[in-house]
């Protein structure tokens, strides 16, 4: 399955000169389209880009980015859980690349930790009662 998503990458100063985009292409087979960028050597920078490739490569690429210390944000889209629809089954747990879902070990409630969400949209169609919604 092919995916294409717009994301914002915030680079801390130490990473600005790393060949991160090159690795996304070479090691993760991803294509990107830079929509906006502000990168000045030795200070913080950001890039808005559209990243596309197969779902698996995309997930691996996002994991690589997260590991380098780049902060990833969704662009103008907001992932929300419809609490009336969520049945706390847990099907989303192994689908989310950033571990935004957690089970409370006592109540077995499935918690959605919004801060960890990078709006990759994997959970939207993986949630059986379709409780995860993408609001633009």
């Amino acid at each position: 399955m092919k995916v294409s998503r717009k994301i914002v990458l915030h680079f801390p100063a130490r990473l600005v000169e790393e060949p991160i985009a090159y690795r996304l292409v070479k090691d993760y087979n991803l294509q990107f389209n830079i929509l906006k960028a502000s990168i000045i050597p030795d200070s913080e920078g950001f890039v808005v880009l559209e990243l596309s490739g197969s779902q698996e490569d995309y997930d691996r690429g996002i994991r690589f980015l997260a590991k380098t210390g780049v902060k990833i944000e969704a662009l103008s889209q907001n992932v929300v859980r419809n609490e009336d629809k969520c049945t706390h089954c847990g099907a989303c747990l192994t689908i989310c690349p950033t571990g935004a879902f957690e089970v409370d070990p006592i109540t077995r409630e499935v918690l959605f930790v919004h801060d960890r969400c990078i709006a990759c949209a994997n959970c939207i169609k993986a949630c059986p009662p379709r409780a995860m919604e993408l609001h633009f």
């Binding site: 399955m1 099907a91 993986a126 009662p129």
Partner: protein, 405 residues
């Protein structure tokens, strides 16, 4: 010491009954011992909430003026095809039916946003449903077309009916191939990327009465938020599955056919679900009370997730090809810990069955019983047990020879 169902029911009537759920009973038995706990506890409640294919409903819409016979015609509910091969105004629809124009898996994986399970959820939540039918017309049933809104309140009867619910135990699905697979157990990532399971484990009805000593035909239960009954054993009932020393099956094993008044049920417990790349289904909530007639029955209900095992099955090869191979066995305690081990590999787990909702069901049933609103029943007949030798046979495939002239 032992009790009868009649004695328990008179305690329910007088408000003196002691009811606990199948999670609470574990600690009680641990602390007070089997014999004291058995004298104190009258009922243990169980629960499960998970997608259950093979669920459906039927209803009677009443006769139109002029009359139409839906049988042998075509009938759709919100564009989803229904089955009418019974009689003029009886309609049946199953959880997995799909609109004819649904693209299915043409663009893989398909979405399956709306199917029979969603029609059932909409009907039960009181929404108007479109019924569109065509038929051929007869002298006594002249009408050939019907396009109408229907609502659960105006139906003559609306009944939940399943061919198979409440699997006693269930496979854990993994994927050893190099690509993601989309199954009825959810999305399974390549190279053992995750493991999907689907059981409430220690809370699940049939795991708490592994030999069906109290659960049988006629057992009254919580079904979809209302009251239901066991009408028969379910299809694919396989009580001869291998068991651990505590008597609990390590494979699918028993199933139940359930029925109940749909008008009493509600959408919190009958929920349309979409399995990406697979199809539509219905999430169903079921809770069965277990009368504690003696210590043996209590001991079965005190089972813990550590002592319930199931098979890990490769859904990229063994399952689709209907091969008996399994990759290993694991306990529900391991599954619920978040990772299982298979050889040297540790695999993150996720569940399709909601333990939290299962617990909620067991507590609702507890309240119904404690408040005197729900009496227990003795089975009118047993379902086939472990000694029956009954198991599910594969299809005896006999290719049809056709001459092509």
């Amino acid at each position: 010491m032992s009790k009868t169902i009649e004695e328990i029911n008179s305690k329910i009537r007088s408000g003196k009954v002691v009811v606990v759920n199948a999670e609470e009973v574990i600690d009680i038995v641990r602390h007070r011992g089997l014999s004291q706990a058995a004298s104190e506890i009258d009922v243990v409640t169980t629960g499960t909430f998970a997608p259950m294919c093979s669920s459906g409903i039927y209803f009677n819409i009443g006769h139109s003026k002029p009359r139409i016979k839906l049988e042998a015609g075509k009938t759709y509910l919100n564009d989803v095809p229904a089955y009418t091969g019974f009689a003029a105004t009886d309609v049946m629809i199953g959880a997995t039916a799909l609109p004819e124009d649904d693209p299915r898996n043409k663009i893989h994986p398909g979405d399956f946003n709306y199917g029979g399970g969603h029609v059932i959820e909409d009907l039960v939540s009181g929404k108007d449903i479109t019924l569109s039918a065509t038929s051929y017309g007869t002298d006594c049933y002249p009408r050939k077309k019907l396009d109408t809104l229907i609502n659960i309140q105006s139906l003559n009867e609306a009944v939940f009916f399943s061919l198979r619910n409440c699997y006693q135990n269930y496979n854990v699905a993994v994927n050893t191939s190099d690509k993601t697979i989309y199954t009825y157990l959810g999305i399974i990532k390549p190279r053992l990327g995750n493991a999907m399971y689907c059981s409430a484990g220690q809370l699940s009805p049939l795991l708490n009465d592994p030999y069906y000593k109290t659960i049988g035909i006629g057992t009254r239960l919580f079904l979809g938020g209302g009251t239901g009954y066991i009408s028969w054993h379910g299809t694919q009932h396989s009580p001869s599955a291998p068991r651990t020393d505590n008597g609990v099956p390590k494979r699918g094993a028993a199933t139940l056919s359930l029925t109940g008044d749909l008008k009493q049920m509600n959408a919190r417990w009958l929920r349309g679900v979409s399995m990406q790349g697979y199809g539509a289904s219905l999430g169903v909530g079921v809770g069965i009370p277990i009368p504690i007639l003696n210590e043996e029955i209590l001991e079965y209900t005190a089972i813990t997730d550590e002592d319930i095992f199931t098979a890990v099955v490769d859904y990229s090869t063994a399952f689709p090809n209907n091969l008996p191979d399994i990759l290993g066995e694991t306990s529900y305690a391991q599954l619920k810990s978040g990772t299982i081990r298979l050889g040297s590999k540790s695999i993150p787990t996720a569940s399709l069955s909601s333990y939290r909702r299962a617990l909620e069901i067991s507590n609702i049933l507890k309240d119904w019983i404690a408040s005197g609103n729900f009496l227990l029943t003795a089975p009118v007949a047993p379902i086939p047990g472990a000694e029956s030798g009954q198991s599910t046979r594969p299809l005896n495939y006999r290719p049809v020879e056709r001459n092509n002239c």
